[in-house]
């Protein structure tokens, strides 16, 4: 937590140095004082390496401060959460941490969990287990909005999992598997309406088929901001040897399932795929070792439950949302916190 040196004038630095020399051993952690900087726009500011103290003036907003000090207006929540405020009042003294202070969403009470919702197919008129009604999907997205959930990108989620970045307390990730056409006609307009990011896991042999998305549609989704990732080539079980298949044939087949979609996505939409959704959610130590070899960053099962940061990146949970779910059942998949057990 040292003052950034570029803000210390030379004369001041010399005075500071001599003061420090006097007390060197007795107070080794003494840190030079901040240059008190006034800001016509924002009352005063004190800048340090780890945080900034700001006294707000009329017209300041959390978003503006986040843009100014954290380089991203969408990080307004971080300032709000740290100072336990919803809005700013003029004359308020607030602290803006410049480094994450709660990585992994870990605090005295417990730790954050991030639910990942998994959808497959959608329909305007008829639901089934894998097919969610348009009206239900709309109601679920509206529920997230009205109840202050933050739908984050897969990249933000993985930064959280890798203990690099803090994310809002009620964060949720939306994923959609396979590549059904109904994603484009039904889910896409609703996600756009709520400005929610989503990740699409495609199994590439399906694409271009009768009920599937076309490559042009996938390209459009990617350009809009969808994250496009791999769900293998043919959607085969990665953990079961087929009848008549030797172990070596099985191994080579799995290898192809993991490598081919990466190349195809690069060729078709010029995107790097570094995440995998396991077909049927099944994995094994062998598959995990192969994923590592091919540089996959993360892989996703269909085990229900939120994700604490400490889960292995190749064993990330997702909660499938089925067509018959009402809002009560949907809500049960939004578990965002777990207390640490007391001993």
């Amino acid at each position: 937590m040292r003052l950034r040196t570029k803000t210390i004038p030379l004369s001041r630095a010399l005075i500071l140095m001599s003061s420090i020399l006097l007390v060197a051993c007795a107070s080794s952690s003494v840190i030079p004082p901040a240059a008190i900087k006034s800001d016509a726009q924002s009352g005063f500011i004190h800048e340090y390496e780890d945080f900034v103290i700001v006294k707000t003036i009329q017209g300041d907003s959390l978003g503006e401060l986040a843009a100014r000090y954290l380089g991203d207006p969408s990080k307004a929540w971080l300032i709000a959460a740290f100072n336990d405020i919803d809005t700013l009042l003029p004359g308020q003294e607030i602290v803006i941490p410049l480094k994450p202070v709660q990585l992994g969403g870990l605090n005295m009470d417990g730790f954050q969990k991030v639910p990942i919702l998994l959808y497959h197919d959608f329909s305007k008129t008829r639901s089934s287990k894998m097919k969610v009604l348009e009206s239900s999907f709309e109601a679920q997205m509206r529920f997230l909005k009205e109840n202050d959930y933050h739908v984050i990108t897969l990249d933000q989620f993985l930064n959280f999992m890798e203990y690099k970045e803090q994310i809002p307390e009620k964060s949720v990730v939306i994923t959609i598997d396979d590549g059904w056409k109904s994603l484009y006609t039904i889910a896409y307009p609703i996600l756009k309406k709520y400005n929610y990011p989503a990740t699409l896991f495609v199994y590439t042999d399906f694409i271009g088929g009768n009920k599937a998305l076309t490559w042009n549609q996938i390209r459009e989704l990617a350009e809009y901001g969808f994250d496009i990732q791999c769900h293998t080539k043919t959607h085969r079980y990665l953990t079961k040897i087929k009848e008549g298949e030797t172990f070596k044939q099985f191994f080579e087949s799995v290898e192809k399932e993991l490598t081919y979609p990466k190349k195809l996505l690069k060729k078709k939409i010029d995107r790097d795929c570094n995440c995998l959704a396991y077909p049927y959610g099944k994995t094994s130590s062998l598959v995990a070792a192969m994923l590592k070899k091919y540089g996959y960053r993360a892989a996703f099962t269909v085990t229900r439950g939120g994700n604490p940061f400490y889960l292995h990146n190749y064993n990330i949970n997702r909660s499938a949302i089925y067509g018959q779910y009402d809002l009560e059942k949907f809500k049960k998949n939004l578990d965002v916190f777990q207390p640490i057990t007391a001993e």
């Binding site: 390496e49 780890d50 100014r68 410049l98």
Partner: protein
Amino acid sequence: MKLLSHYFYIIILAPGIFFGCAFMQATEPRKTAAPAPPQVSASSQPTTSQSYLTKASTYETRGDLRLALFYLKIAVDVSPQNKQISKRVVDLQQRIDANAEIQFKAGVQHYRDQQFEKARQAFLKTLLCNPQHPEALIYLKTRISPFKFLAYAAQKGEKKTDIAEKIYQDSGKAFLISYFVEETGNREILKQGIRMELPYLESVPVKQKAKTAQQPADTAPTYQLEKSASPAFNIQTEIAKADGFLKNKQYDDVLTIADKIIEHDNFSKEAEGLINKVYYQKGNDLFEEKRYLEARTYFSFIDPEYIPTEKIQATIKDILDKQAESHYLEGVNYFINEDLKNAIVAWETVLKLNPDHEKAKTDIQNAKHLLEKLQDLE
């Protein structure tokens, strides 16, 4: 540990020595955009350390030493001349470091005892004290893992086929050794001491002695399979129970069992069958009670691949259409008698029964428009 390096960005705590007194300080470049250049202003007011000291004390009392330290450090920055605060920072930092080490050691002991949940809790507490404790992170993120790997170092003159035989009891799996060893070239005999991490093949028994006797001491198994706490789960037993519940119309109990099965297998056909049966029976019950609207909802949930419901859905549609028509005429009568409010209520009922009733939609709009005009006149 090499395996894990790409998962984490670990801030390295570099020891700094200053006039013979050593202290540790976190070093990381500031990543955020620099603020706008300050303007000269007479209204600039310095802050005081008192509010931050109060916050630090509050957190310290609650046992959240990490946040207490954060606020104490702010207080030091705000009042650098106050030596007492600086001393508190040093003391608190020492307490935190000591706590972190106690928790970490406890975690390692639990891990060695294969008490993985207790180990996890201890490592989490370690990180609560020291969020950048690299070893606690490694234990949490990768050692307590569902994946099992065998760390192995090739011995003098050992061939890939020998290792495959030793590890997988199958020299035909030598191709796996080539695949994972990452040695350039295609030599049959591996360089002595070359290390590899070989995946456990869940369906292939592994020789116990290969796991232990062949490993150099510093490459003890880095991965462990977490012991499952749940008792054996038998789908057939659960389905038999569910069938009993179905007969007794205990539908919620059936759905609970279906959920339980889905937890074990998300794509279970048995679970899907149970769910469809519940909706079918519930739909029939409601149909018999003449609660056609609710019955329609339940039948609409049914996957036609499981139970065809076209006929009964068509019957319900006929009944509801007739009811809708009757309510429509009721609305017309209200309208003729200038009771616009009740006309709207009747036509809205029509739309509940038949959402595609175009005349009711138009008439509601007209009636609402008329009502507004009348209210304006009043």
